[in-house]
Symmetry: C2
Subunit: 221 residues, 2 copies
């Protein structure tokens, strides 16, 4: 009965820690995520948890990576799987996947990046802050590229500034998270879709088809 387990067992434990850590961090933030709480929830000792990461900061960075993996799976890849053409069609699919990601409440505390950005944006620069800012920037750049393609193809109405369009799209998603989490406002996803539609020069939605664009079925995880 040695406490030493196989490499595969260790990896499984690590995965369980990160999965639970991501749930907790979405609620309590990355500082509020404590090793003792994780250990209790997983019926482990604190040193058993910490052994996988060494320090709390390394654990926090691993949780950020876990959150990125979820976002990539549920937004980036799901949008890509729709096979929409570059430019406005792809941008619409990406926006729909983004709204859907929040609407489906994949994490108990809502959007991990919104929570953690607000937690770290005033901190001195550090690895965690940098990681969050960098991951945010990757998604913004992807949206900007599609917007630029849409502009070049004459698919957008009047606003020729891709940066401005992405800024405003982001704001509508932040408003969604805000209304959805603070007031449990069930109308918020529809409001965000309506704002995005207007911003991208689309006509108002038909009653029977509220989505911005059709998406493949979501992964059930």
């Amino acid at each position: 009965m040695s406490p030493r387990r196989s490499v595969a067992d260790a990896r499984r434990t690590r995965t369980a820690i990160l999965r639970r850590g991501l749930d907790l961090a979405s609620i309590e933030g990355l500082e509020g995520l404590t090793i003792g709480r994780l250990a209790t929830d997983l019926s482990m000792s604190k040193s058993g948890v910490l052994g996988h990461f060494g320090t709390k900061e390394t654990l926090q960075l691993a949780v950020v990576d876990e959150a990125v993996a979820l976002f990539v799976r549920e937004v980036v890849r799901r949008a890509a799987a729709a096979g929409a053409e570059p430019g406005l069609p792809r941008l619409l699919v990406q926006c729909e996947a983004w709204v859907s990601y929040l609407e489906r409440d994949l994490l108990p505390g809502g959007c991990f990046f919104t929570a953690v950005t607000s937690e770290f944006d005033d901190r001195e620069s550090g690895p965690v802050r940098s990681a969050v800012a960098a991951k945010n920037a990757v998604w913004q750049r992807e949206l900007r590229q599609q917007t630029e393609l849409a502009i070049a193809a004459g698919q957008l109405p009047d606003d020729p500034d891709a940066e401005q369009v992405v800024f405003e799209l982001t704001g509508q998603v932040l408003a969604l998270n805000h209304a959805w989490r603070l007031y449990r406002d069930a109308a918020a996803p529809a409001r965000t879709r309506r704002a995005m539609r207007r911003l991208l020069g689309l006509p108002a939605a038909l009653d029977g088809q509220p989505e911005l664009a059709p998406l493949p079925e979501p992964d059930d995880h």
Copy 2:
């Protein structure tokens, strides 16, 4: 040399605690605001700090009130002092005061309400969460009223849904806080003003007059 001071002294101490507490809470959040840290910063003992409030929760609620007072002074009253007529003119002044409030960095951690909303929106209901949600709602209601007046007066372009307009305005302010705090993006205030202008059916700004509407000089505090 009794440690007991006058009532006026006690009130001054209380004010100092709340002022510092608001600064700290804007950075660290209302949970991250600790009594020990406050005591150190103010060269007091922990029990000296706690004596003014009894419990941490009471302290947190007092800090929320302090934040409301700042917002009322710098946004609500400053906008009212401009003397704009109800409807679109007043709505523009209120939006300009709102953007200016963030742009001027009145607190070291940016918008207190954004930070605290994101911190408490997933928590079980409690007095702090309720207070934050209620204060948020008061401002939203004020904006909605002016929007409804503007709609009734035919001052808005096409969108007849006041709730939707307020939702989108809020989103642009959230985007401002996001870009301003996380990326130190100096272009963010102009982007928000531009988005608001478009949303409210105004022409694009002239180069020399970027504000949404003229405001009186800010209070220096």
